[in-house]
Point group: C2
Chain length 337, copies 2
DNA sequence: GAGAAAAATGTAATGGATTACATTTTGCAC
DNA sequence: GTGCAAAATGTAATCCATTACATTTTTCTC
């Protein structure tokens, strides 16, 4: 691969002139520029960006830690990130962490070793824990989707409590009184906030909270199915099931069908995320739409602003949600609308 | 950030000794090594890997061009890639191309500018076209899933023709004679091979090929729905629909339901890929399972072998498929099994 | 303890591009 | 043509770690 020296030699100028001809064309005379450009063409010269990055101390790479790529919500988030990063001249180093902390820490180390300028974390774990840090420097990290509350860094999130409140209120409005919730992992802030919104809506409607209607899940189709089976086996089963994501809701739908129950006549089901499949389930799923791509693009923008020193206090961006009403929810059995 | 010089000064040794103490500990005396390690700890020294990469001329980055991350099959492929790359000390630079050639070329340029050592392309387009290349050098590229046939590079693929043949044969065995196919984009080698397998199976069974039963799609849920609507509006509609991916099959399922048709009693539906949702559709989808993660890990292995000069001829790896029989397919109406 | 081999350590070049500073050339006014 | 400012170009340092080669120190043998 040709270097700037070969180009300089061929064009009979110094390397500084070649560099200038390419970076600041106006600083070089027309004649020289033409000679340099010709030499560039002839040698097929491509600047070694590794050298540039090394010298500048900026890698223009961003590490992205994703719990699972094989999750349509995250896939959309990544899409938004990639678009935004590309527009701004940054590249994404992707890590599918499977929520493995060691893996996350291993990738976080790329920031310390100058391979990346910053990191985006999509779940509530600080991947820099354990790596001794310049404590005074703010971490070049942005937290999105499922956010840490123990750490001060820019975050992008949904008002999960409000969203869960809205969905619960909607189900209450349909006459449901026994509303189950299929949760995510118990320690997740996401779960905590959504459960809080759910409880608040119940309380305001004067409906007693029933612990047995909270069923644990892990965001997978199978866990939704399992949770639905458990819920319907209760002495007093729910008439509505609110799932913390669409995958679990689709799993639940299948289980209800197997039990011979009709949705929404016998049981209503609601999801969260509005993935593409939500509109194609049977029946189509009532859910909370999140601006997933915007999560990604906002997280990238914030991170780049942070890296390039344009960010003062660590901002907290709250994105809007939207309750999408489809056919999987309906009036509670025996309830007159 | 501390450099090797500061560590050397603190430990009162030369930079060469520091480097050796860290890279080849046995080449340094115990006493010195201890001093260096202490200095490393005290300064919080982390080697600047950008400098290392620059000097070595190896970035240990791989560019991955993915048509859409928001496709569960590709998501699984990426998962496999990431695992394999991480195990081998490489990182993935992800590009969600949206099949945009300019975007792909822009990322391919990273290989020429030493930012990446190689590239994996998941669709049939050579992203290096237009970039003048060292024609003698083999391109540091691996093609997987949907492969180019015009270019000589290592490839990982399914025997799509055989898979389509197997599925068509299976449907024929259920008594279907009017079997439709919802295709992918017409110019895709994937589509071409699968259609070829489909035709061959029909021909061997003595069933005339009917052009009107080939309906175009683009792998999206919506296109499957649309195609199913068109097919069922034919004067002689099909009794079975074979879709080139599960998303289109799920779209088709919804359309059939809206038309009041029962699956599989009235129409059988088959997919391709075996994404997670295939087992949770209503009814669960008969489909062709592909080892998606293995596509990813194999592609990464091949690329690294190629980069590191361990690969002779460009190999062609063919991965196995599996026909998964679920409830969406059944005997053709009026056919006795 | 001398001498040689082996081990440990040091010096300085290297990789490719950028850029501060130095020098040369050009352009213009008179 | 002179003189001076502005423009163009060149020289060499810099970024950081690695490593070939040079030098010093240790170890071992007789």
């Amino acid at each position: 691969m040709a270097t700037i020296h070969e180009v300089a030699a061929l064009a009979e100028v110094s390397v500084a002139t070649v560099s200038r001809a390419l970076q600041q064309p106006e600083r070089v005379s027309d004649k020289t520029r033409a000679r340099v450009l010709a030499a560039v063409k002839q040698t097929g010269y491509k600047p070694n960006l590794m050298a540039v990055k090394f010298r500048s101390g900026k890698s223009r790479n961003l590490v992205v830690l994703v719990p699972t790529v094989a999750n349509l919500f995250f896939a959309r988030v990544i899409t938004g990130m990639q678009q935004s990063a590309h527009d701004k001249g940054y590249s994404l180093l992707l890590c599918n962490t499977m929520a493995n902390e060691a893996m996350e820490q291993s990738y976080a180390r790329m920031v310390h070793t100058s391979q990346a300028d910053g990191l985006i974390q999509l779940r509530a774990f600080n991947p820099f824990t354990g790596l001794e840090m310049a404590a005074d420097q703010p971490l070049p990290m942005v937290n999105a989707c499922e956010v840490l509350d123990r750490i001060r860094c820019p975050t992008v999130l949904l008002d999960n409590k409000a969203a869960a409140y809205a969905m619960t209120e909607y189900l209450l409005g349909l006459g449901h009184r026994r509303i189950a919730m299929i949760k995510g992992p118990p320690r997740s802030p996401l779960t905590r906030d959504r459960v809080a919104g759910y409880k608040e809506a119940l309380a305001e409607a004067g409906v007693d909270f029933d612990e047995s209607l909270l069923s644990p899940g892990n965001f997978s189709l199978a866990s939704g199915q399992k949770a639905a089976a458990d819920l319907m086996a209760l002495p007093r089963p729910p008439t509505a099931i609110f799932c913390e994501n669409d995958e679990m809701a689709i799993g639940a739908l299948q289980q209800l069908k197997q039990l011979g129950l009709r949705v929404p006549q016998d049981v209503s089901v609601a999801g969260f995320d509005d993935i593409a499949f939500a509109a194609y389930s049977d029946p189509p799923l009532t859910t909370i739409a999140q601006p997933a791509e915007e999560f990604g693009s906002t997280a990238v923008s914030l991170l780049i602003d942070l890296i390039e020193g344009r960010l003062g206090k660590a901002p907290k961006v709250i994105l809007p949600f939207d309750l999408i009403e489809r056919a999987s929810t309906g009036p509670a059995p025996g309830h007159l609308t």
